[in-house]
Amino acid sequence: MPDTVKPDTLTSHRTDCERALAILDTLGDAPLADAEESLLTAHAATCAACAAEWALAAEMARAFLELPGLECPPAVTRAVLREAQREAEREAQREAERREVAGLAASGWGRRLVRYLTELLPGPGPGARPSAPAWRPLVAGALLVALTAVGLYYQTRPTPPPAFTAAEVARAQDDLERVFSYLGKIGADTGVALREEVVDHVLQPTRRAFGSPVATRASQEGD
């Protein structure tokens, strides 16, 4: 039976193809090892598909090698350098402004304030500024630090809850009165009296916010 292919031969052939393809996948990384080359050669002699694949892989590897490296267009280089230069100038300008502000704060205002505070401190008498004792600038500095600390404290301390105006309290009272009169009306219609603890429960947060007058009046209304 000349046309029949034995299963083990087919399997072996397929395995050889896979092995050949795996070798071809590495083509371009490094020259083929002798063993790989002889395996490929032997297999290509019996398998036309793999022989063609080998030729193609070789062409491809060669084509990759011949792909030219490209020059960056001078226009791109120029545009990038122009932008970088512009950004560098802007940054330098910003930096100069920052330094100026910091310098002003450090050298001008700070020093002036210390000098002013030094002069405020009690000394030997008028006209004694140039010969003021050495401790005075120190005390002035400490005063400055203390003032800064107080300022910081007031700036960062938690804000107290807002105080209610008389008008707001009156408005709240009116609202509550309306609510309780409505509830009282429902109670009268249905014959179900509003329980005291329910009224208390509703009024607790209000009491806390506005104080007892609201609660008292509202409770009375509820009754």
Partner: protein
């Protein structure tokens, strides 16, 4: 001076950035835009980029920029389906070497087209390996994937490219 250092780094790497972008995107104008963007990014991060590692840093940034560029281009119209723009495939190439056969030249043209049709991450890996000639380790670093994965992807990518070339060859 920052600007001098930048100029030096740019002179050294700009060609590689542009080459990668060109082969990756398959379009010269877009490659110019991406190159400009990448080089400006280098300028803006100059204080964080060391001279020794600038190449790897740029390779990673270029690859990411190209990838983002492609993703932002939902309508890729002619770019990949109809192939490279002619300017890139002709004007920017020095032409076939005298010793290169006609067949090789055709393969090169089809190869560029096939490359532009390749999906990610295969395309990045092939361009980094075959065009930028990076080592596996360097590709692994640029792509932030394990070394063995790089090998697997590259081998798979080569097989895909051969398939595409074979299709073209059969149609021809």
């Amino acid at each position: 001076m920052m600007l001098d250092r930048f100029r030096e780094l740019m002179e050294e790497h700009q060609g590689r950035v542009f080459t990668f972008a060109c082969y990756y995107l398959g379009n010269r104008e877009e490659a110019e835009d991406v190159t400009q963007e990448v080089l400006l990014r280098l300028w803006r991060h100059l204080d964080k980029v060391e001279t020794e590692t600038a190449g790897a840093w740029l390779a990673r940034v270029t690859r990411n920029a190209c990838y983002d560029h492609l993703r932002s281009q939902r309508s890729r119209r002619k770019l990949f389906t109809e192939g490279l723009n002619e300017e890139m495939s002709t004007a920017s190439d020095p032409g076939p070497r005298p010793d290169a056969g006609l067949v090789t030249w055709d393969v090169a043209r089809h190869l560029k087209r096939a490359l532009a049709e390749l999906d990610e991450p295969y395309r990045s890996i092939v361009v980094l390996r075959e065009v930028r000639e990076l080592k596996y380790e360097e590709i692994s670093e640029v792509m932030e994937i394990p070394l063995n994965t790089v090998k697997t992807y590259l081998h798979r990518a080569r097989r895909k490219l051969r398939e595409k070339l074979r299709e073209v060859h059969c149609h021809a």
